[in-house]
């Protein structure tokens, strides 16, 4: 049992902090701090800055740009990035398809895709969920039928995040409709979004933004060589991918950043002639959230130290579950601090309401997603009850 970081890790932390706060363009970090949407160019510029310094895909195999870091180093990297308001490397590239290709792709696929994925020369999007396959992903119905040297894809995907920016999609498709278990007949295909027969339709959300999309496939021809790994093994790759996704999804550093900002917002709003920060109920609420975040961060540190063979610790479900709840609690706190100012959500020019209060409710509404994606919190409870408690 040791509290302190070793001198080497202290130095590592300082190195990360210095890089993130001095090398990533201020204007991009300001956009994240203001909780405004990033443009495609800002995402790309940030990720390329990280990649040039070897900081975009540190968890990948070393030969493909990974750093061979310990789980604790990975934690520090992620936390410092979030605290510094640096946009994380695009998750579809860095956390999802990249590690899958590195683990299961053939050499040709690795050489063709991994460098361009790390450098976001390809912007990937995810074709997993379907209108009738959400938490029950294995019931997906998009099909791929072999025709000569091609697969022919028909069907529909949904909740495709930032698909409007994407160059390529990685897509779960049913290649063997006769398989006894529905998990067995699924494969993973990748193809460009401008392939004939691919149509993208935006989904408007209650926060007023355009973040997710529906994607339709009509006789889309995909060369057979663009099937990743083995035919009908796609479910294994999906589980691998979703397990990776869960580890970084707690976003503890980002929550710490927002809670610190919330404290400054509480100083800016007065109630009864005194700053809200002096109101005992407000202070209690902030202090309780701070303690919950501390407990979560400590749990993350415990869990990362026990991740064996790159497999996520079963308790990583706790991180996803509580991490998402705390993100939601903090965005709710910010709306409450804004009070009536929160109604000026869509004000553009001519409003005297501070920007943070205008963003508050759209963000709160947008963040309802975090307990739904990445395996809904009910799925996480099922995992905890089944895998950990044996229920």
């Amino acid at each position: 049992m040791r509290l302190q970081l070793s001198p080497e890790l202290e130095a590592f932390r300082e190195e990360m902090r210095t890089f993130f706060t001095t090398q990533v363009p201020q204007e991009i970090r300001d956009t994240v701090a203001a909780r405004r949407d990033l443009t495609k160019d800002q995402y790309v510029q940030a990720m390329r800055t990280l990649n040039a310094a070897g900081l975009a895909v540190p968890h990948w195999p070393v030969e493909w740009g990974g750093r061979g870091w310990t789980p604790l180093q990975m934690h520090i990297w992620r936390e410092e990035m979030q605290l510094a308001c640096v946009p994380e490397p695009l998750p579809f590239n860095a956390s999802m398809i990249g590690p899958v290709i590195a683990a299961f792709g053939n050499q040709e696929q690795k050489e063709r895709f991994l460098p361009r994925t790390a450098n976001i020369d390809i912007w990937w999007c995810q074709g997993f969920s379907e209108p009738d396959a959400g938490s029950d992903l294995a019931s997906l119905r998009t099909t791929a039928v072999r025709d000569g040297d091609d697969w022919v894809v028909n069907g529909q995907k949904t909740w495709t995040t930032l698909g409007q920016h994407a160059d390529w999609i990685f897509c779960l498709v049913r290649t063997d409709p006769t398989a006894e278990k529905k998990q067995r007949g699924i494969s993973l295909l990748v193809f460009p979004m401008d392939t004939p027969g691919v149509t993208l339709r935006p989904i408007q959300l209650i926060d007023g933004g355009h973040e997710v999309n529906e994607v339709f496939f009509e006789d889309v021809r995909v060369p057979a060589e663009d099937l990743i790994g083995e035919e009908n093994r796609g479910w294994d790759y999906a589980k691998f991918l979703l397990g990776n996704e869960r580890v970084g999804i707690a976003r503890i550093g980002a929550s710490k950043r927002l809670l610190a900002q919330a404290k400054s917002f509480a100083e800016q709003v007065t109630a009864g002639g005194r700053p809200l920060a002096e109101d005992p109920r407000t202070a209690d609420r902030i202090a309780e959230l701070e303690n919950e975040l501390l407990a979560l961060e400590l749990t993350a540190l415990r869990v990362v130290a026990h991740s064996a063979d790159g497999k996520p610790h079963p308790a990583s479900s706790v991180l996803k579950l509580r991490g998402s709840e705390l993100q939601q609690d903090i965005t709710e706190l910010v709306v409450d601090l804004a009070g009536p100012l929160s109604l000026s959500s869509f004000a553009d020019g001519g409003s005297e309401v501070p920007d943070w209060a205008r963003v508050a409710t759209p963000e709160y509404l947008n963040y309802r997603k975090v307990s739904i994606y990445g395996g809904s919190n009910e799925v996480q409870r099922t995992i905890i009850a089944g895998t950990i408690l044996g229920l």
């Binding site: 049992m1 040791r2 509290l3 302190q4 970081l5 202290e10 932390r13 604790l72 520090i76 605290l83 710490k256 950043r257 809670l259 610190a260 404290k263 100083e267 920060a277 005992p280 202070a283 209690d284 902030i286 202090a287 309780e288 701070e290 303690n291 919950e292 975040l293 501390l294 407990a295 979560l296 961060e297 400590l298 749990t299 540190l301 415990r302 130290a305 308790a315 706790v318 579950l321 509580r322 009910e378 996480q380 409870r381 099922t382 905890i384 009850a385 089944g386 950990i388 408690l389 044996g390 229920l391």
Partner: protein, 384 residues
């Protein structure tokens, strides 16, 4: 940062677990022991002493083992796991801790040596009726006449106050400060009325009426700061005792859900129940992380008071959640005395109120919330 025990700590845990499993692995044995005074088993107490556990945190020159907060945490968790009624935190961490913090070398050797050997049961007489969770004495006063002191007033509840061989008493002295005193169990002017507590323990009303007392330490300097620190160390130890208890309550509940049948199926077929068990696990693990961290802060010489408040808040919330749900998921059997799980809830409730509850800790943390931007557990050592 490293949350793993070393091999000696693992050995300690195995040894303590073995001893306590033999004593209390069967819940009936605990009921029998707590049913008669002094509410714990003197033989088990002696065995704990023989293992060196009753002198665990004391310096070797005072008869102790010279171990640290991590070892104390390990023992406390094992105590909680089987609800051992032996007053480890109360006598060793709290009473012994105050003597170690304030006593002269001679007092430390005598009292701590006696605690470590299991021959002296020490109890802290600090709480007073009508006050709560203060590091200072309030209505109990001490008066000096020549070289000797007397104490007057009422302390209650004093845990193990009737059985104690020596009481560590806080009292207000001239000038308004709080000093600490040793009062022997056979002192004149000492009236002790013992009773059972809901969790199977013992407490007492202790009345001092011009009772001869020995000043702890040299000079009647205010001891509030030392009391505050030792209370914090005890809060952290209690956090671990609570973790042990919650862990057993959850495991017992999960086992019950796997085996109890209603409507022709085992209860784990009902998602309404398994999801609640999953939430109990989340509460437990978050509290465990915080308690372990607080012990590491204490071990590293960091801000033990703030760390204890954080552990107190987290284990209070978790203890209530898990204690209540453990009973509800069992149904009626959970509130019967013959079944174990309700006793865990009772003990968790007692721990929650002896040195400050979650809301109390929260109000202390909230008073300081503007003093820092973020809470950084990787900072070394932790300062708020």
């Amino acid at each position: 940062m490293d949350f793993t025990f070393d091999s000696e700590q693992n050995d300690l845990r195995e040894a303590v677990r073995g001893l306590l499993e033999r004593a209390y692995g069967d819940g009936e044995q605990r009921r029998r022991v707590t049913g008669t005074d002094p509410g714990f088993d003197e033989k088990t107490w002696s065995r704990l002493a023989e293992m060196g556990l009753l002198g665990l945190p004391f310096a070797e020159e005072h008869g102790g083992m010279g171990a640290g907060p991590i070892e104390v945490a390990i023992v406390a968790e094992e105590i909680g796991r089987v609800l051992a009624p032996e007053p480890f935190v109360e006598a060793v961490v709290l009473a012994g801790g105050l003597v170690a913090a304030a006593g002269t070398d001679a007092q430390r050797s005598e009292v701590l040596g006696g605690i470590a050997e299991g021959t002296t049961l020490a109890a802290v007489a600090h709480a007073e009726p009508g006050t709560r969770w203060s590091p200072s004495a309030s209505a109990v006063t001490a008066t000096q006449d020549g070289g000797s002191w007397t104490v007057t007033g009422v302390k209650e509840p004093v845990l193990n106050g009737a059985r104690a061989d020596v009481l560590v008493v806080s009292a207000v002295v001239d000038g308004g400060g709080t000093a600490l005193f040793l009062v022997r169990g056979d002192a004149s002017g000492l009236t002790r009325t013992g009773y059972r507590t809901h969790d199977g323990g013992r407490a007492a009303n202790v009345r001092f009426d011009g009772t001869p007392a020995e000043l702890l330490g040299a000079g009647s300097a205010d001891r509030t700061a030392e009391i505050e620190r030792v209370l914090a160390e005890a809060r952290i130890a209690y956090a671990h005792e609570a973790i042990g208890s919650m862990d057993t309550a959850l495991r017992t509940t999960a086992e019950y859900l796997r085996t109890r049948k209603q409507f022709g199926v085992t209860l784990n077929r009902f998602q309404a129940l398994t999801f609640r068990a999953a939430d109990m696990y989340v509460s437990l693990e978050l509290a465990r992380s915080t308690a372990l961290w607080a012990s590491m802060v204490s071990d590293a010489g960091g801000d033990v008071i703030a760390a204890a408040d954080r552990a107190r808040l987290q284990t209070s919330r978790a203890g209530r959640h898990i204690g209540k749900e453990a009973i509800q998921l069992h149904g009626g059997i959970g509130v019967t005395a013959e079944y174990t799980v309700g006793h865990h809830t009772s003990r968790l409730t007692a721990i929650d109120h002896v040195l400050g509850d979650g809301d109390w800790a929260l109000s202390r943390l909230a008073a300081d919330v503007r003093g820092h931007e973020t809470v950084d557990p990787l900072g070394a050592p932790y300062t708020p």
